[in-house]
Point group: C2
Chain length 395, copies 2
């Protein structure tokens, strides 16, 4: 058992990120029905099965014509065309109504916009000329057969899913969703419920699928029930007190701990190890510290395993600090802030404040270990995570 870590023995946040970033990516891929693929990451690129459009078509509502039949027409010199039924091959002097997206009739080479003609019975008064090809979308104009429609690695949004559906695709090959085994060894109700709900929602936000492994009092036995997984989060009992058996339990279950202790104000008892080939994180059981640890550590690894950028999933924006932040040198500190206009106000964040500050915050900043904090008026980068509602991918 590692001794209670002094600051200078604890892993720095930067080294912790290096450890996380070195965890191997062994995620494969799987087929996914189109409707359930929102937010997933495409593994195999999607190509166009045919030219797009696959024929010449009208790009707006109007009248299909032979352009030459309109040459010379103006509001001072209208020309008159004969309206023929849709689907009939067009000859000189004829026109037929044609809607956006419809195939041009045989013989037509332009579409006269609706507002350039005035129909009266079977006669169309044309008061403007159109050039050959005007108003026409040409075969292959948008894409050629075998062109890439959606590249591999793309995170699928509405537009990509809709495009795939319009190509007749029903399934896509996507990166497997990382399985996250959540073992809640602490704290007591109702804090444990709060943690469970929050960690499973954050896991979903970052592209993973949380699976609770029920803790039966014996942490080692619980860990032996984890089964095949991509990431183990062992929450609680990570400290150095008499009940804190997390590190020993990992060893007893056949795993190992590489580092125990983190130079971060909240989450100092975090640990980094392995269980059954999957990375395992020891996380503190105190809800606030656990959520901070998730944001600083677990989320980063999980996003990468899910095929997303490892960096913060929310926009980072620069604000002016309204009040001083004091932070001990040698530890990184997670500071929630409330933003007003271009100014960010730091909030207290201690176990005494519980999740109160966390729930009020618009975002957070991280004071690097090398700084004593920030003076009022300092420009700081705020990660606007908290009040973003969660992006829960369809499971």
């Amino acid at each position: 058992m590692t001794a209670p870590g002094r600051f200078n023995e604890r892993l720095s946040l930067v080294d912790a990120w290096e450890w996380l970033d070195a965890c191997p990516d062994v995620m494969g891929c799987e087929p996914s029905p189109l409707q359930q693929s929102f937010g997933r990451v495409l593994s195999a690129q999607l190509t166009f099965p045919a030219d797009r459009p696959d024929r010449d078509l009208a790009i707006g509502d109007g009248y299909a014509v032979q352009a030459e039949s309109t040459f010379g027409a103006s509001s001072y010199n209208p020309l008159f065309l004969t309206i023929v039924p849709k689907g009939v091959a067009l000859t000189a002097g004829c026109a037929s109504i044609c809607h956006a997206g419809e195939t041009l009739p045989v013989g037509a080479d332009a579409v006269l916009p609706l507002e350039a003609g005035e129909a009266a019975g079977a006669v169309l008064e044309v008061c403007d000329a159109v050039a050959r090809g005007a108003g026409v979308g040409h075969k292959g104009q948008a894409a050629r057969r075998d062109d890439v429609a959606v590249p591999a690695g793309c995170r699928l949004g509405v537009a990509q899913i809709a495009l795939a559906a319009s190509l007749g695709v029903t399934h896509l090959t996507v990166r497997r969703r990382p399985d996250v085994a959540l073992v809640l060894a602490g704290p007591k109700p109702p804090a444990i419920e709060a943690l469970g709900i929050a960690l499973s929602a954050l896991t979903a936000r970052d592209g993973g699928s949380a699976r609770f492994v029920r803790h039966h009092g014996d942490t080692a036995r619980t860990l032996s029930c984890v089964g095949l997984t991509d990431l183990v989060l062992l929450v609680g009992r990570s400290g150095w007190g008499e009940d804190d058996d997390a590190e020993q339990a990992v060893a007893a279950a056949g795993g190992r701990i590489d580092h125990h202790g983190l130079a971060v104000t909240q989450g100092g008892s975090s640990g980094f190890g392995w269980l059954g080939g999957a990375p395992l994180l020891l996380m503190p059981g105190e809800p606030l510290a656990a959520l901070v640890t998730y944001e600083l550590l677990a989320g980063r690894l999980l996003r990468r395993l899910a095929g997303r950028p490892a960096v913060w999933p929310s926009p980072v924006r620069r604000f002016t600090l309204s009040r001083k932040i004091a932070s001990p040198v040698g530890v990184s500190e997670f500071v929630p802030v409330i933003c007003h206009g271009s100014s960010a106000e730091p909030l207290p964040l201690t176990p005494a404040d519980g999740l109160t500050g966390y729930a009020r915050a618009d975002g957070f900043l991280v004071v690097p270990a090398g700084l004593e904090g920030y003076a009022p008026g300092a420009l700081v980068d705020v990660i606007a995570t908290f009040n973003d509602t969660i992006s829960q991918d369809s499971a």
Copy 2:
């Protein structure tokens, strides 16, 4: 039946927004289990049932002490305290281990940080003094009983849900999720599948719940099966061709159309009306125009009904246009763009390009009706919607 709208007879986008913004908000509220409340909008504020914290507690790991017992201690002049078991009332000269979040033992008034003491058996060597109250979180410090924990109108994220769970709350009172009746009267497969998937995903993104009302060929009869709803989207058959029976069908089903025709390049056949007391939008069946219409019209109304800001749900950022955009005066135009650095490149967007440009875009801009477009180098506001993956709230 309204005549095929000329540009000057069509509703402007600004007037359309005014119509949408005037639709009454008749949404009530409903109870929602906590786990299913992510992304929902809180109707009844949540208050703290008790002071928070509800007792004095340690805010970091260390030793509970009487501060006076440490006065004068330094690394040159260490003092020695007797370590007593946890839970025992503390007297002068004694200390007990105490973890973050734990209740202070009776008699203690400060927490000596772990690194300021060195335990050897039952003796604690203290090399720093602490002031009374140091390391202690006081009862009511974060919040007083009946203080607001989460205000009404807040969209619930992980932090708010976790706070509610930590207060022992299992259900919240949230705004009812708007029911959106989707009637797909056009287009043909596979375009209709693409539209269905995309419109239900966009509806979910904007806080609504899509319900497909199967179209049996007769639009009026289909509309009479819509039932109680908050918004009807009637997609397809909205134009002025021989198959375009949407407007008549609304009347036949007992509804009415206030306006038919919109001065927007894509979606000119949109219409605005009522069915069974709920607002109804006529939308074009061509997939691209339907999605543009959703983004410009339906999404705005739906977000407001869902209790969210009606404005674009994605960040708006300023970019420099890399190429000219030409747009007819009198109509608004929706232009998808690809962004590179600070520059935005407009993409073609016609039915011939189908969803190809839409799926490649990073966002879009809207050319106001009063402009002929933009010159290269113009600063434009880009709405970064498309490649945001969807935020699907748990249903």
